[in-house]
């Protein structure tokens, strides 16, 4: 692997991914990938389709269990933890193919992001006791901030299945932000978007990082957006790391130009 492993500053990494290997009945999805994500870093993973990017996210969020390697989040080993535990620790993600709760409104989807921040149980819920009501109101105020931030007010009460694709992608980002994440994973957040939507999304991602200080891992299959936004980039191909470094370093890496860009400028 090439260059740029250590971040400036002594702060411990938010995430470490060490020599992870994952395969499905003969198909190798991840093959010896390692990286670290520093606090407030915008880290990108790129590679052609099937390179293993989504698999990396599925390992991180506890959906897949790798056969080898070590993964720590905020200093804790998270391999083997169920997805909801990892979410409670503060790992939020969006999905490559939008995975919203499609019969629920934008508001309810975002409120669901706050699920584990509530501290009331079934009895308070059935009786709508003071505790339940107070917490719901407080959560609602937080969610409204996100609705403003992502410019979703016009859609607030619409079931998400009725919304345009680009808006759904934004709702999914909103749901992840509502979790108040300590690390945000975005899987191809601009896939299928037009230029304007792409620029909006890029703005939201940068704002989220700058205003909330949340570190982000961004996956994309094409270089354009990533090279503008990312602090560092990991390039994958066939599950293997090809290069790791700043966008400039990666772009001038002969192996990347050879294998991934196929000689294009």
């Amino acid at each position: 692997m090439t260059g740029g492993e250590e971040e400036p500053g002594a702060a411990p990494p938010v995430l470490t991914f060490e020599d992870v290997g994952l395969s499905f009945a003969g198909v190798t999805a991840i093959d010896g990938v390692s990286f670290e994500v520093a606090p407030a870093e915008l880290f990108a993973v790129i590679g052609p389709n099937g390179a293993g990017k989504t698999s990396v996210f599925n390992v991180l969020s506890g959906v897949y269990r790798p056969q080898r390697g070590r993964v720590t989040f905020l200093g804790e080993d998270i391999l083997g933890l169920p997805p909801h535990r990892i979410a409670e620790m503060g790992l939020a993600r969006t999905f490559q193919n939008v995975e919203l709760f499609h019969n629920l409104t934008v508001l309810d989807n975002l409120m669901l992001g706050r699920h584990h921040h509530f501290g009331y149980g079934p009895l308070s819920a059935l009786l709508w006791l003071g505790r339940a009501r107070r917490q719901e109101l407080a959560a609602r105020a937080r969610v409204e901030d996100i609705i403003d931030f992502l410019d979703l007010a016009a859609w607030r009460r619409h079931p998400v299945r009725l919304l345009p694709y680009g808006v759904q992608k934004r709702v999914e980002l909103g749901r992840a932000l509502a979790m108040e994440p300590r690390l945000l994973l975005l899987d191809e957040p601009v896939a299928g978007m037009n230029l304007e939507e792409t620029e909006d999304m890029a703005r939201f991602v940068l704002d989220a990082r700058d205003e909330l200080g949340v570190p982000i891992v961004l996956v994309d299959h094409d270089m354009g957006l990533v090279m503008d936004l990312a602090d560092r980039v990991l390039v994958l191909d066939f599950g293997r790391p090809v290069a790791l470094g700043t966008p400039a370093e990666v772009q001038s890496d002969p192996e990347v130009i050879e294998a991934y860009l196929g000689g294009a400028p």
Binding site: S61, G62, V63, P82, P83, H84, A87, E88, A92, R93, F95, E99, L100, F101, H102, N103, L104, D108, M111, L112, G113, R114, H115, H116, F118, Y120, P122, S124, A125, L126, L127, W128, A132, R133, R134, E136, L137, A138, R140, A141, R142, E144, D145, I146, D148, F149, D151, A153, A154, R156, R157, R175, A176, L177, M179, E180, D207, E211, L212
Partner: protein, 394 residues
């Protein structure tokens, strides 16, 4: 989270709750703007528009005035209200949480026997503990059924969709067998046992009293209980728990990845649903006073499914409407022999009213699924949209 910069561009004024302090006192809403909320608590209220309040008040008024109806109709309606409690319960696990259960009749049976055993005569032919106050046996019946639901829930954690439906169906057959064999509790098939005694601190609802006839007392009791159970279900639906149920129904993997523990919430859905079923079972036979272990069969489960499918999945009002519809349907088909001479009232003849009833359930389910998947509730939404400006300005 730090406060984020708000963008206030193209907001729809009507749908925009202004930034309000959540603790702010309820503000009055300008007339003619029912969707303009001035505080979040107003926006999150159960009856969030004036029209809803007026309609509910009207419905309740009609329901209360209906206590003047003839006794046989009151008994029928009281049964419908109890069925509605059961249907609301099934809607929690199947409509909201998306776990198709054909085992509802089993949980109804568990509640019915728990209540009957608790309030039964200790000296009697069948098991009885003599605790007739319903403030004891009603919650107890619900809790015993909920416990049964918790025991069954691990199946739901493993199985999905049709597999779960088939396995919960097995529960009904298992229950039927156990209840038929367990004579000491159930009295055995064809004999049965006395139902729970509807008594509250000395007042008997199942006998004529100074306050009204037996039918009137039972009617009012069931109406009040239905309102309580319905309001609780609405509260649940708008809480973090109801949202988590819907999330599991719509996308279970995503639900888990955003922090909803699947197994725990499926278990909770079965527990609460079965609690409702158990209470419905406990109440159901206080009206007839007697029940037979053969009652808790597949047909009963199918009827509950029909109630929520016809009434509207994942709405409380739909479950109530569906339950009343299904309860009143036999009454309507009874009139058929008078209208259509070839239909017989005798079960040994074909076609008879009972066959027509079963066929009608099936037909109605198919028709609603094809033409109005939201059920009666969906029809109501359409009618409401049609009469949008009448009689209350929207």
């Amino acid at each position: 989270m730090t406060r984020m910069t708000g963008r206030t561009g193209d907001l729809e004024a009507v749908a925009e709750p202004p930034r309000a302090d959540p603790a702010a006192p309820r503000a009055r809403r300008p007339r003619g703007r029912p969707l303009l909320y001035t505080s979040y608590s107003q926006d999150m209220a159960l009856l969030d528009t004036r029209a809803k309040k007026v309609w509910l008040a009207l419905l309740l008024g009609v329901a209360i005035l209906s206590s003047g109806l003839p006794d046989d109709l009151l008994i029928l309606l009281a049964g419908g209200y109890v069925a509605a409690i059961g249907a609301i319960g099934l809607n929690i696990v199947t409509g909201y949480a998306g776990q198709v259960s054909l085992g509802h009749a089993f949980f109804v049976a568990v509640g019915a026997y728990a209540a009957a055993a608790l309030s039964g005569d200790p000296e009697g032919r069948v098991i009885g503990f003599g605790i007739t106050n319903m403030i004891v046996w009603l919650p107890a019946a619900g809790l015993v059924a909920a416990l049964a639901g918790v025991l069954v829930a691990p199946l739901a954690a493993r199985l999905r969709g049709l597999y779960l439906a088939v396995v919960t169906l097995g529960l009904v057959f298992l229950g039927e067998h156990v209840f038929k064999e367990w004579d000491d509790l159930t009295g055995g098939p064809g004999v049965g046992r006395p139902a729970a005694v509807p008594e509250l601190f000395g007042f008997r609802f199942d006998v004529d009293s100074a306050l009204g006839t037996r039918a009137q007392s039972l009617y009012m009791l069931m109406l009040v209980l239905l309102v309580v159970f319905a309001v609780a279900a609405r509260n649940l639906a708008r809480s973090r728990i109801g949202r988590a149920f819907s999330a599991i129904r719509d996308r279970d993997i995503a639900a888990e990845v955003i922090g909803v523990p699947l197994t725990r919430y499926k278990t909770l859905a079965f527990a609460i649903s079965s609690f409702y079923a158990g209470c419905a079972g406990a109440l159901m036979y206080t009206i007839t006073g007697f029940f037979d272990p053969g009652s808790f069969n597949l047909l009963m489960s199918v009827q509950f499914i029909a109630m929520i499918l016809i009434g509207g999945v994942a709405t409380v009002s739909g479950a109530v409407a569906g339950a009343l519809f299904i309860t009143l349907l036999p009454r309507l088909t009874q009139e058929l022999p008078a209208l259509l001479p070839f239909v017989s009232g005798d079960t040994t003849q074909t076609p008879n009213v009972f066959q027509i009833q079963v066929a009608l359930y099936g037909l109605l389910i198919v028709l609603f699924l094809v033409f109005e998947p939201r059920g009666l509730f969906g029809l109501w939404v359409r009618v409401r949209a049609y009469w949008k400006s009448w009689p209350f300005s929207y």
